[in-house]
């Protein structure tokens, strides 16, 4: 590892900080990571921008997201992290004024092609939200809802048990599956929401600040869970918590907010995207460094 870092330090860094994604291409080209050969791209973001009612919220996002890794999106409030993550499963469609430009290529398909049905997209790509949002139903029905709408065949009890086990919740709730999910603690509710997302057997799990409403112990449990889950799933997480991004993620994208030329609108952009270790220990952009070390933000 130290050898790897030393090698990178010799690279001509930050020559053109605007060219995001460039460091990654270098990384791949040099094949520094031992698993580089096994690293598959699951998303390719190509000049993605989102505007609300004509006002750009985030623009020029260009980076790949890798399979079976945890990709963290960090940056100050209003930089468009949540907006961007909601492009990855077309949740932005729910906001009538939102307009997405560029390409969100998922396994070679642009998710924003006219031929793509957003419902089909969301069947493959699960999402966990900032605030736990269990349905006002039993724990069992919360998990079973996804498989039921997908028309999943098989023993529903088994599907529910599997999902709850993967969500590290089974032992706590196995005796009260028929109890209302609203009676659970916040951390349990959030793990239920994760288990619910896993029950449909998605390919990717998107997490939009999943721990922001939880105490440190619940947060720790969810982070442990994420480590286990990345064996089987690709995870993209938005977080405000620098330590969390540093602890759990493999890749980190740092967003920042820029004022327009006319200084009216604030738009988010990606400043740096690289291995998490590099972003936190040896960032190539001084704005990233200021943010991750806590000087700003």
């Amino acid at each position: 590892m130290s050898e790897e870092r030393a090698e990178r330090a010799t690279e001509p860094e930050g020559a053109t900080p605007e060219v995001v994604g460039a460091p990654v291409i270098q990384t791949e080209a040099k094949g520094q990571r031992p698993e580089a050969g096994r690293r598959n791209t699951i998303y390719e973001l190509d000049d993605v921008g989102v505007s609300y009612g004509g006002v750009p919220a985030v623009r020029e996002v260009d980076f790949p997201i890798y399979e079976n890794e945890i990709t963290a999106l960090i940056g100050p409030s209003g930089c468009g992290k949540s907006t961007l993550i909601r492009c990855l499963n077309r949740m932005n469609d729910l906001i009538p004024t939102a307009e997405v430009t560029g390409k969100v290529v998922y396994h070679g398909q642009n998710l924003y092609d006219d031929s793509i049905d957003p419902v089909q997209v969301r069947k493959r790509i699960g999402m966990v939200f900032q605030k736990p949002n269990p349905f006002p139903k039993s724990i069992y029905d919360n998990i079973a809802f996804g498989p039921r709408v997908l028309g999943t065949k098989g023993d529903m009890d088994e599907i529910v048990e599997n999902a709850l086990r993967r969500g590290a919740l089974w032992d706590e709730v196995k005796d009260r599956l028929k109890a209302n999910a609203f009676g659970m603690s916040g951390g349990q509710q959030q793990r239920l929401c994760i288990a619910r997302a896993l029950a449909t057997n998605p390919d990717v799990v998107l997490m939009d600040e999943p721990c922001s409403a939880l105490d440190p112990i619940s947060t720790g449990r969810i982070e442990d869970l994420m480590f286990e889950l990345k064996e089987d799933y690709s995870i993209v997480i938005v977080t405000h918590n620098m330590q969390q991004a540093a602890r759990v993620s493999n890749m980190t994208a740092f967003f920042t907010v820029e004022l327009d030329a006319d200084e009216k609108h604030r738009t988010g952009r990606v400043i740096e995207y690289d291995d998490t270790e590099k972003v936190f220990t040896n960032p190539s952009d001084e704005r990233t460094e200021a943010y991750v070390t806590g000087k700003v933000g």
Partner: protein, 300 residues
């Protein structure tokens, strides 16, 4: 020791309110009480008056006899009571699907910013304030005669009353649907559910208590409506029960209208008894609405 110290402290720091302030406070509270008792006294006077006039007439026979023009002892409200129950059932069957579907469309599908949906919204609010007699004229022109041409039958009465209370149902249902938090919709859609599955499995069940309460309150407005039924030509005196939706009918408010307009005080006592029956129906319906609201109301 402690209490003595506190007492001396309070004497120094906290002064008593001046007499003027205390008087003003008292006056204000009395004024509020007076306003409150206005409504209460009027209602109490009404109920006491009606009870003293009609209680003696109230009996099972009164509920199970047809009205009579000759003998006030044998008169009753059977046809009106049955007509009213049928009217309410038919009316509910009409307003629930139409009102809820309209509310779902306006809340979940329509683009709220568009000119058309804002026009519809303003229209619905205005329709809720249109006098009921105007709905009677509408019912007469379009349902009893005109395009539908049903005649002055039960179905025509139910549709007319339905049109009258539909705006209320739509407005209440929209509020109930809006009260279902968007995080529930997002959670469902993110699992790959379609919009229809989301509405059917999550939004409507969540909105159900509110919708049911609204429907009952709308029906309790419809149950007392007299003018539209008079205008569409419903009977005020009927010695028969409606047996189908295309039969002629009478209803409680019409029976009351008929009794009260009689010169004979004995018939007017029967009117008071009929009012008591209608009030009892109203209390039961409103109690049902309150029960539903308290029992199934969700805290999100």
């Amino acid at each position: 020791m402690n209490t003595v110290a506190e007492a001396s402290l309070s004497r120094k720091v906290v002064e008593r309110a001046s007499t003027g302030q205390r008087t003003r406070d008292l006056m204000f509270r009395l004024a509020l009480l007076a306003s409150l008792s206005m409504g209460f006294v009027v209602l109490a006077a009404l109920v006491i008056d009606v009870v003293s006039d009609g209680a003696s007439k109230l009996s099972l026979d009164f509920l199970t006899s047809f009205p009579s023009r000759i003998s006030p002892e044998n008169t009753g409200v059977e046809s009106a009571l049955i007509g009213t129950v049928y009217l309410m059932i038919l009316c509910a069957l009409f307003i629930v699907p139409v009102g809820v579907a309209t509310a779902v469309y306006l809340e979940e599908y329509a683009n709220r910013e568009s000119r058309l949906s804002r026009l519809i919204e303003v229209n619905i609010q205005n329709l809720a304030a249109v006098p009921s007699v105007v709905y009677g004229i509408l019912g007469l022109a379009f349902i009893v005669r005109g395009p539908l041409g049903l005649g002055p039958v039960l179905l025509a009465g139910a549709l007319t009353l339905g049109l009258l209370v539909l705006p209320v149902v739509i407005i209440v249902s929209r509020e109930a649907i809006r009260a279902v938090p968007s995080s529930i919709r997002e959670g469902s859609l993110a699992l790959g559910a379609t919009q229809w599955q989301t509405i059917w499995k999550h939004v409507l069940p969540g909105a159900l208590p509110g919708v049911a309460t609204g429907v009952i309150l709308a029906l309790s407005r419809a149950i007392g409506e007299t003018a539209p039924l008079l205008v569409i030509g419903a009977a005020t005196f009927a010695r028969f029960n409606p047996e189908g939706i295309t039969d002629r009918f009478t209803a409680m408010p019409l029976a009351i209208f008929e009794f009260i307009s009689d010169a004979d005080t004995d018939f007017r006592a029967a009117g008071a008894a009929a009012i008591l029956v209608l009030l009892a129906l109203l209390v039961v319906m409103n109690a049902g609405a309150i029960f539903l609201r308290n029992r199934y109301e969700r805290k999100w």
